[in-house]
């Protein structure tokens, strides 16, 4: 029997990414939080924070508000939205269905990650555009570093999201677990006000967790101040732990 073992090629990948993008765009409610919530926080804080210079010509808006806003974009997409799609695909039998085609179900995971990355880029782009054009925000002192940090932070939030997708038995529970994880690391990481108002132990924990660490490193990149290795290590460890946990516990059916 001569059967070629050709794997699905580039055309197949593009089709899959396009399909995943349509799924995300048609899930309009899912777009409100990652695009809308950060904008709301930006608008509410921007006018008050825009004038006061902190360091290197960067204002409170640049150094404190924008890092938080961008972190919210990355975290809501990575921790809440992406796992809810993956949990739905598993629950609906779609991952299993794909496993009997030449496409591996892992292709869906990767395509969904690509689409989530596009969504993150759009979310960050919109927030930055509004901040710069409407509220006179400044770009980071260290722009290239900031881009690298955004990549690392995205990987860390995906890793948290993969843990959520691995442990959630149903799509609904994935949303619930994702939201709890988001608000948990968010509350400790400065989502509802400065971490300094938290008890010291919680503030330290928040700084170690990926949300707080992301806010800190982005803040440093914007201000041009040195980035603490602790925060980079926290994000890197999150990527490794998330990868290991999801590889061990992710179920395909």
């Amino acid at each position: 029997m001569t059967v070629d073992t050709r794997r699905p090629g580039l055309g197949s990948w593009l089709t899959l990414v396009r399909c995943e993008a349509k799924m995300v765009v048609r899930d309009t409610a899912g777009l409100v939080v990652p695009i809308g919530l950060p904008l709301l926080i930006l608008v509410m804080n921007a006018s008050a924070a825009g004038d006061e210079v902190v360091v290197n010509g960067r204002t409170v808006l640049d150094v404190y508000v924008l890092p938080l806003v961008l972190t919210i974009v990355i975290a809501t997409i990575g921790v809440v939205n992406m796992p809810s799609f993956l949990a739905y695909y598993r629950r609906a039998g779609i991952l299993r269905r794909l496993s009997v085609t030449p496409a591996s179900p892992a292709m869906v995971l990767i395509a969904q990650a690509v689409v989530s990355a596009l969504q993150t880029i759009i979310g960050i782009g919109v927030a930055l555009a509004v901040a710069v054009l409407v509220f006179d925000a400044n770009l980071p002192v260290r722009l290239v570093t900031a881009l690298g940090l955004l990549l690392l932070a995205t990987a860390a939030m995906y890793a948290v999201g993969m843990i959520v997708a691995a442990v959630a038995p149903t799509p609904n529970s994935a949303v619930a677990i994702g939201l709890v994880a988001f608000f948990g690391i968010g509350a400790l990481g400065g989502l509802f006000g400065s971490r300094e108002t938290l008890p010291e132990a919680l503030a330290t924990a928040g700084e170690w967790l990926p949300f707080g660490a992301t806010v800190e490193v982005l803040s440093d990149a914007w201000a041009g101040t040195p980035i603490e290795p602790l925060h980079l290590m926290s994000l890197s460890v999150t990527v490794l732990v998330g990868g290991a946990v999801s590889a061990a516990f992710f179920r395909w059916d």
Partner: protein, 243 residues
């Protein structure tokens, strides 16, 4: 090259303490339509899932077109089409988007238009999966199983839940596969369907193969009036009662 498309020998599978499939052997000829009949829990789905490589048998051997579903997984996926029971598709994608997606996975697929016609969904092509009726979803599920021009097709509960008219349309689609010499494993508990479509029937009961014969042969061997009665004689129950 033999004329055997599917060769399953002494398959066994247990889940915890329950034996789901107990020493089942099947040989399906190229171009044959084999019905796999039995009540709920008879082991039908587990048997075809082992043939499709979705489950690994505890013991026994499977070859599909000479390929081992475990070792030759990638090659088997190119020539096998599977319609799974209760598997849904992306709910927000349309009929033609979904067929197009599966179309992109295969090296020599059927044109999307042709598949749409085959399952009579051409007029629903821009409808999202979630807006389709149960019967239309079922037909789409069959469409994506056929788009890769498979040589062997597994259809699990092809017409369960379909109205009589749609059921007949699906039967016509399977008959077209017969014309193309595609080998079909048809899991069913509908006697009429099996009688009409299948060259031979494998009758499973409590994980064991109790008979493997033509529909007429089963009737003759049991001295029953029809396949329904033959089923009762061989398994001691009616398929409807156990489902």
């Amino acid at each position: 090259m033999t004329d055997t498309a599917v060769d399953a020998a002494n398959l066994r599978k247990r889940y915890g303490g329950t034996v789901a499939v107990d020493d089942v052997s099947l040989r399906v000829r190229t171009g044959e339509i084999l019905g796999i009949l039995g009540g709920n829990g008879a082991g039908k789905t587990t048997t075809v899932e082992m043939i499709a490589g979705l489950r690994t048998p505890d013991s026994g051997r499977v070859r599909v077109l000479g390929l081992d579903p475990g070792r030759d997984r990638a090659r088997l996926r190119q020539v096998l089409g599977v319609q799974l029971q209760e598997a849904q598709l992306h709910h927000a994608l349309t009929v033609s988007e979904l067929i197009g997606l599966f179309h992109s996975f295969y090296p020599h697929p059927r044109p999307v238009e042709e598949v749409l016609e085959l399952v009579e969904l051409t007029d629903r092509r821009t409808t999202r999966f979630e807006k389709l009726s149960g019967g239309q979803q079922q037909r789409l599920s069959i469409a994506v199983a056929l788009v890769g021009r498979p040589r062997v097709v597994i259809l699990d509960e092809l017409t369960t839940g379909l109205d009589p008219r749609t059921r007949r349309r699906m039967w016509a689609a399977v008959e077209r596969l017969r014309d193309e010499r595609v080998t079909v494993l048809l899991v069913s508990h509908a006697m009429e369907e099996v009688e009409r479509l299948c060259d031979r029937v494998a009758l499973l009961d409590a994980g064991r193969l109790v008979a493997l014969d033509t529909p007429a042969g089963l009737v003759a061997r049991t001295g029953a009036a029809n396949l329904d009665d033959a089923f009762v004689t061989l398994t001691g129950s009616r398929p409807e009662e156990t489902s």
